[in-house]
């Protein structure tokens, strides 16, 4: 998955950005989030088998998003908060992306928790990040997307133990996707042993 695709593909995406000025400058932002997610997916591939198909499937399809795996050479700088940043400079973004990907691989969970604290302590630090688009659920109907993420999390916990860091992302995903009411009901059902899904 980590085939190094250096700056070349970036310029491609920049060219693309020139065609649709206003909109694609913004596009580079979620790209960064996506790639982070992909890398993280790869680290937990033994948990859910089908997940590891995603990076190959995703990157050729959306050629604008390739730059991230160039991450190997880069290192340590902690991911900066996304909210304040200007979205239009694609090159700055790319640098940030590669840094972030590398950093994210190691410190994803640490960063998650620290981020949560940051949210609670100091006001303007909110990272715009959510469950990525999933190629298994390409339609308007996302019901199964939410359900699958919920199951994936609980399977992951069952396999890896209660506070395995690999499972955190699934938790984030299902919290983002599922209505709170549904999650509450499912939690209740799991406690009573009446949960209808495969756990």
């Amino acid at each position: 998955m980590a085939e190094p695709q250096p700056e070349k593909t970036l310029t491609l995406s920049q060219q693309y950005a020139l065609e649709k000025e206003d909109k694609v400058g913004v596009d580079t932002k979620p790209v960064e989030v996506k790639e982070v997610e992909n890398t993280v997916n790869a680290t937990s591939e033994e948990v859910v088998a089908e997940r590891d198909e995603e990076p190959p499937a995703a990157s050729p399809k959306e050629s604008t998003e390739v730059p991230a795996p160039a991450a190997e050479e880069s290192s340590d700088s902690a991911p900066s908060a996304v909210v304040g940043g200007e979205s239009s400079e694609a090159s700055a973004d790319a640098a940030e992306t590669s840094n972030e990907t590398a950093a994210e691989e190691n410190t994803e969970n640490a960063e998650n928790s620290s981020e949560q604290e940051a949210v609670e302590e100091e006001a303007p630090e909110v990272k715009l990040e959510t469950a990525p688009a999933d190629f298994r659920f390409p339609t308007t109907n996302q019901t199964r997307h939410c359900f699958t993420r919920y199951i994936e999390y609980h399977r992951c916990v069952a396999a890896k133990g209660e506070d395995a860091p690999e499972c955190d992302k699934f938790q984030k995903y299902y919290r983002s996707l599922c209505p709170g009411e549904w999650v509450e009901r499912w939690n209740e059902q799991r406690e009573n042993g009446t949960f209808p899904g495969p756990l």
């Binding site: 908060a81 909110v126 715009l128 688009a133 996707l177």
Partner: protein, 259 residues
């Protein structure tokens, strides 16, 4: 003069329906822009056909008037004209269908990953919005109800049947995923300026992805008949990204404090 004045005064600076409005509201997303463009494209053909058919009709009425042309024609068949009036409409239909399908498929295609997810849950008769990207447990989440302001409580300048007490705040120029569902009956989450209309179905999550291109306040209403207070409203407020961050974290603190 009075009419003119009255016409211009009704043009409100926000993205809401206006009295006697005939056209679209201003587009704020690429989707709405596409819809408006498609409308104009199709209207071109519509007018073309209207003019052509009217001309044929009037011409036939004129030339074959019973006084002018007392002996009726007995033509019942003409191969050339039949080929023509089959081929030509199908070409026109193709010119309409191609941009139409292109728009249709591009609208529900999710091109990039969204940066935030907002859940809109329909109730009789209010919307509940959940921002759960920043949750640290299953319970605590930035959740609020958005009720329409009743007519008696309106302040000067607020829009009747449109204003709500809690607006949905979203960042502009950011890819959003809105997940629409319902807790009781069918509703529909619709905002004309954003080019969005999505049914809220109990037990099902419908996703729409939007990109608001400019800051503003966008008004919409429930668009699926759901009971007495159907057409209770939806207000989306698009703010710059950095303001969104502070808005969310400011709201998050009291929420987490309570929970």
């Amino acid at each position: 003069m009075i009419v003119l004045e009255w016409l211009f005064l009704t043009i409100s600076p926000c993205d809401a329906a206006e009295p006697w409005q005939l056209g679209f509201q201003d587009a704020a997303t690429p989707m709405m822009q596409g819809i408006i463009d498609l409308h104009h494209d199709i209207f071109f053909f519509l007018i073309l056909i209207l003019v052509f058919v009217s001309r044929i009709l009037v011409r036939a009425l004129w030339h074959f008037h019973y006084q002018k042309n007392p002996i009726p024609q007995r033509i019942v068949h003409g191969t050339t004209i039949e080929i023509l009036w089959t081929i030509f409409p199908s070409i026109i239909l193709m010119f309409i269908a191609i941009p139409s399908f292109a728009l249709l498929y591009s609208m529900d295609e999710v091109v990039v990953d969204p940066a935030i997810t907002i859940k809109a849950i329909g109730h009789q008769w209010y919307w509940t919005y959940e921002y759960s990207d920043y949750n640290s447990s299953d319970e605590e989440s930035l959740t609020f109800d958005s009720y329409m302001i009743p007519e008696d409580d309106l302040e000067l300048g607020q829009l009747r049947l449109l204003e709500v007490d809690n607006r949905v705040v979203v960042p502009a120029k950011t890819h959003l995923r809105i997940i629409v569902t319902s807790a009781d009956v069918l509703h529909s989450w619709a905002v004309p300026s954003l080019g969005v209309k999505c049914d809220a179905v109990p037990g099902r999550l419908n996703q729409i992805s939007i990109l608001v291109q400019r800051e503003g306040v966008y008004y919409g209403q429930c668009s699926e008949i759901c009971g007495t207070n159907h057409a209770f409203s939806i207000v989306v407020e698009a703010v710059p990204r950095k303001d969104y961050g502070s808005r969310v974290s400011n709201q998050l603190i009291p929420q987490t404090g309570e929970a």
